[in-house]
Symmetry: C2
Subunit: 444 residues, 2 copies
């Protein structure tokens, strides 16, 4: 991928790559809107204290100013924490359940390697309720994300698999095993993908004990597309490790299993064959309390999850009231690194017409044609030079602008430089080929 890193870790795209990025962002947004999500934008900064409370302090960019030193502000590292503040501040004005989407840059001061960026786009949807959050949202959000990723297929996002787990299942199982620090266990299970079973067992054992670490890994092995078979395998694992648990732990497990199954079945029903329950999905963040999701591209699983999230019960709350939610986030920049080598733009300028200029004295004539075309929403550029026609056409050619317009006092002509066809044309009525009329087309 031809990435420029003139500033280490802060990617910057060529104009052509930007066309692809923009198209991806537009498609994502269009899908979010079709699903009735409402847009908000939060400011780029948060109080530094709240950032370090939820995030990794070493990765957070704090702001400072000459003569004033450090400010109590840092750049946000995700869009969930800002959403949480936004909802609490405006809880008197928002209509709940609040369906919001948010597409913004976030910043993380990670070591810039393995395709990790320090500045990247996230595209989030969340549904936040006041009081109770109905369960159906736990499939509605991943379903919307499946639709969204599917809408990117023409740009080169091929098949993907969405992996579902439920924190209640893991938590019930861990508790029944007698594990005390459930959160830390989840955090370590989350490394399975990166470290492999052997090393994960090692770090698990420090928290859970030896036998329990093996049981945890055994549960994490379950990956099923069939609800009944999934339940069976959970029972097998419980039997194998003699996990009985108290009634409330069993209930927690059963609830978790049932919730994961109903998401699976909704996704399969909607035709997303890539859905599965995957008990290794833990998510590193400790605020998730129900279903959790990760999504992998079939063609490039090594890229990691491109769309993740989950349900959170207690992230957003006042002393009196909780605002449970469920949300997912597309890592747009990560997805892009997959798409740049596949998608192509059909032209490099929004202009579909280059209006030629015969000589500088008659430039007004070309300006006039451009003015009329633009008033009819046909994008165009007036040739920067009145040098010989060949060099004017060359510019159109290089920018892949399909038409060159030759103005004249009477009887303008327009040439399709791809076919060579040249016809008489009136700027008040001429129409470009529909495929060149609208916006730049991007395709795999």
């Amino acid at each position: 991928m031809p990435t420029s890193y003139s500033i280490s870790g802060f990617p910057e795209w060529s104009p052509e790559q930007r066309i692809i990025e923009k198209k991806v962002l537009e498609k994502i947004e269009e899908s979010f809107r079709l699903h009735g999500f409402i847009n908000i934008e939060t400011c780029s900064v948060e109080a530094y204290e709240s950032l370090i409370k939820k995030g990794d302090g070493k990765e957070i960019y704090r702001l400072s100013k000459e003569g004033k030193g450090e400010e109590n502000l840092g750049l946000h590292f995700d869009l969930t924490l800002p959403l949480s503040r936004y909802v609490l501040e405006r809880r008197g004005d928002l209509l709940f359940p609040f369906r919001r989407y948010q597409i913004q840059k976030v910043w993380r001061g990670e070591r810039p390697q393995n395709g990790r960026y320090r500045e990247f786009y996230q595209a989030d949807i969340d549904i936040v309720s006041q009081g109770e959050l109905p369960r159906h949202f736990e499939y509605e959000v991943p379903l919307a994300m499946c639709d969204t990723l599917k809408s990117l297929a023409p740009l080169g996002v091929g098949s993907f698999s969405m992996h579902i787990n439920n924190r209640k299942l893991s938590e019930g199982f861990y508790r029944a095993l007698g594990i005390k620090d459930v959160e830390e266990t989840l955090r370590r299970i989350d490394k399975l993908d990166k470290l492999g079973p052997e090393r994960t067992r090692g770090i698990l054992e420090e928290v859970t004990g030896k036998e329990e670490s093996l049981a945890c890994l055994d549960l994490a092995k379950i990956r099923e597309k069939d609800g009944a078979r999934f339940e069976e395998r959970v029972r097998e694992v419980c039997d194998r490790w003699n996990v009985k648990g108290r009634p409330e732990e069993r209930e927690l497990m059963e609830e978790g299993a049932k919730d994961a199954e109903s998401v699976l079945s909704a996704l399969l029903h909607a035709g997303f064959e890539g859905a599965c329950i995957d008990c290794s999905i833990a998510r590193g963040l400790d605020y998730y309390t129900g279903c959790v999701y990760e999504t992998f591209l079939k063609e490039d699983p090594g890229l990691g999850s491109v769309c993740s999230g989950g349900r959170y019960e207690n992230l957003i709350r006042t002393q009196k009231q909780s605002y449970p939610g469920v949300g997912m986030s597309i890592g747009v920049s990560r997805l892009l690194s997959h798409l740049f080598s596949k998608a192509k733009a059909d032209r490099l300028s929004p202009a579909s017409v280059l209006v030629a200029v015969w000589n500088e004295e008659e430039r007004w004539r070309s300006d006039e044609v451009a003015r009329i075309l633009r008033s009819r929403k046909i994008a165009c550029e007036v040739s920067p030079t009145s040098a010989k026609m060949g060099s004017q056409i060359k510019r159109a050619d290089k920018l892949l602008i399909p038409y060159v317009w030759f103005p004249a006092a009477q009887g303008s002509e327009v040439k399709d430089i791809r076919t060579g066809e040249q016809v008489k044309a009136d700027p008040f009525s001429w129409q470009p080929d529909p495929k060149y009329a609208a916006d730049i087309i991007v395709r795999e």
Copy 2:
């Protein structure tokens, strides 16, 4: 203006205000694209040294990280400096003249008062050449901006005036007066608007001497819509202060006057009656070398300039090659503060249909209707609750969603809740009223 400043100086909008902001950004972008500008996005940071070289050090946010202290990075305070770096880095790949637009947030740590924001959107166009920059771009860029501001008329941007000056005119005049520090004189003349003539004369005198400060102010008084009259007034001022100058100074003045006039005449010719030459326009930035522009709303001149820029000869250069350009920038957030009280959105959700749910067991039926409508690009939301129909309709009502869909095994019906009309409807063929079919409409 109902602005939230939960973090001082960093504005954040309500969902409804965001609809307006988004529409403004979209309209601006559409206009930039109609004029054949190519989009780029640069990263949010620049090397700290280059930021403090060009900007006000006290206003620049520097980044730091826990355990690592200050980084050599700061947040950009405009989009011109990033453009300059971008062009130099990619000069081998870009096609010149490079017409680019860029719409991004910028950050300035000013005292948050007088409607000044610390984080705000700028929308820039620039045309950058390699070697020579033809003069016609000096009218093409402000003309594109006039078209752009005009396209915002339906949102409440009323008449505006674009004020043109030329640095060469001022510089020639100052030099002919014997003033040594031309840049500092320009910087101080730039305060005229804020300080008034008396106090400006005071600070000018420190740089220019007494008599000269009066002459500078006399020149700055010229504001003309008529090219011939403008020339006459410049001559009158020169005569009054006995400004003769050497041939190269006179030539500079004449060139500047001529360039300003040709921009004026292009804008007037295109129907922008608000165009004028205004010799008080100086622009605080020292890199401008030719025409400079500022734009004021007739209804709210106190807002200050909402769209400014100019021509720069030497901002972008290598040792061997210069890349002169001309650019202008819309201060979108400033414009918004004018529009929020005027523009209104016709609905508060992108959804034009709320699909009702009879009971949770039949939610799948509503999901199915939604799936079909979305596949036909009709945005919808499935009711979050299956509670009594009145409360479901109330949600549509509050979000100004025009239609409520009542699914049924046979014969769905859809109700226009504004008119009360209810008709049988098939999700595969039903069409909403065209005005509700597409995106949210925002109007004054």
